[in-house]
Amino acid sequence: MTDWRKQRTARDERIAAGRAHASGKVVRHEAVVELLEAVLRPGDRVCLEGDNQKQADCLARGLGACDPGKVHDLHMVQSGIVLPEHLDVFETGIARRLDYSYSGPQGARIAKMLYGGQIELGAVHTYLELFARYFIDLTPNVALIAGVSADRAGNLYTGPNTEDTPTVVEATAFKNGVVIAQVNQIVDTVPRVDIPGDRIDFVVEADKPFYVEPLFTRDPAAVTETQILMAMMAIKGIYAEYGIRRLNHGIGFGTAAIELLLPTFAEKLGLKGKIATNWALNPHPTLIPAIESGFVEQVHCFGSEVGMDRYIAARPDIFFTGADGSLRSNRAFCQTAGLYACDLFIGSTLQIDLQGHSSTVTTNRVAGFGGAPNMGSDPHGRRHPSDTWMKAGREAGGTGDPALRRGRKLVVQLVETFGDGLVPAFVEHLDALELAKKIGLELAPVMVYADDVTHIVTEEGIANLLLCRDADEREQAIRGVAGYTEVGRGRDRAKVEALRARGIVRRPEDLGIEPLDADRSLLAARSIKDLVHWSGGLYEPPARFRNW
């Protein structure tokens, strides 16, 4: 007779083994290693929660301290490779195989370990893809997650940084997996129940609060005149022209400049209420002036941001908050929102090629792209119209019956022609291709493919790729905004001028913008302290961003 409950039985055995180190569900942090050694089996698929923000760091240290004789050959399936411990386990043999999304600070080390064969790589996903695969073919056997507090029954309060947790728990707990949560504190009653206790098997009271990276804090003091000029062009040449109301921003200084120009430059253009009202966005501190000025109607968040909690709690009309008053974020839902319900994504990149493919991968770093490829793509499953979407669709043109033409999502690359150290952003060939060859990747790590990108904004101007009708026009439009890079200097000047006459390439003067007006006095806030003032003292920036 077929045993239909093998997984369930195995799960029960794991939990029984773990209970030996627990009091009910509660485990002391000193017992983490024993707990993990009792619960984990060689070859397990394990999700060690960590994304670009919050980290289950106490459990990560515990996993790293396990005996590789007992715990080995794990298959890590997690969105973020961020802490050194995330890679240490591959050096000791505790883990062998990896599927992930983002590895910002560890990008160089990952590349080295991939090259050295210490990591067997499955794939580098987008967040949504990896979450999707949790439910199809990468379902975790054990999930190690992080929350702010839990009660003894396991009811979990994630706090404002809910992020990946509901998705990870959903996939693990309902498919015979074991869920272990680290919390900062065990309490009698949690402020709100983000994850019901019957999905949590063990709760570890961590030795210190879980780490959160202030990844989305951009100091206005560092915004340059060039970035302000580009932001002015984006607002006037794209936001205003397409009437962008629903959008997502990347995390660079260029988009921070846009946020800081909304209450000043955009307001003067009479754009309040007409652009940038509905957002899929982390709570960027640089959005505070726009919110306070009444530009913003609502914001749904992937995660939270260090120091923003009190401000968010005081603005429930803008943010999604729970009955306890604090932010409820959710990475999977917000990624979905960014993909299907936003008309524009604007972000930065390190390299763009002659057709408009872009990547943040360089020859010695495999950073992963997190959510950018989803945000920065035109979802073919979209079926609801908006003026913005339809206008872009019309510009893209195409053959066949116009009544059957769908709209287009605007995907804008906001990029300075030269990056740090005078490295050109425009290249003939992406380094990503070189890297893929070097470490044997089947699919080159491209962030946004050329057929998804609609506009490129540089300090030299805007290239509208929707209006290009062939590959040559496209190449010259890109060269036409590539400044003094080799790609830019290699332009056919006559062709670029012809594109300019058709509005495909537009210079600041074509938009009625004087580059010498691009001044820091246009910024609604010029320092972190200005942001604190805008927030009425509610924003509490991390110490490293203070200068008072």
Binding site: T226, E416, T417, L422, E459, Y484, R489, P515, L516
Partner: protein, 104 residues
């Protein structure tokens, strides 16, 4: 350090009578531009001192575009570069020319 001097002939002198102006600061990614109205009205020289070696052709292109666009006849322009990107150089040159024209 590397240095260049580019000499250009212009079709007209730069407007204004201001004898001298300076803009920008020598800092990482920035530069200072000193402009002096000391040359014949159809001449312009641009002298550059930069710590970033190997970008002579870019400087030449930036200088030529600036001269073509602005027609800064009569100016001796000297640049101390702190590793600025070409767009920053163009911006500072334009700011300097505006100062010499007596603009804002």
């Amino acid at each position: 350090m590397e240095s260049f001097t580019f000499r250009h002939t212009t079709q007209k002198p730069l407007a204004g009578t201001k004898a001298q102006a300076i803009t920008g600061v020598v800092a990482s990614g920035n530069l200072e531009v000193l402009l002096e109205r000391v040359l014949p009205a159809d001449q312009c020289t641009i002298e550059i001192a930069t710590p970033v070696v190997g970008y002579g052709d870019v400087w030449e292109a930036v200088a030529a575009d600036f001269v073509a666009r602005t027609q800064p006849g009569g100016l001796r322009i000297a640049i101390n570069d702190g590793g600025a990107r070409p767009d920053t150089v163009s911006l500072r040159l334009a700011q300097g020319a505006r100062l010499m024209e007596g603009g804002r």
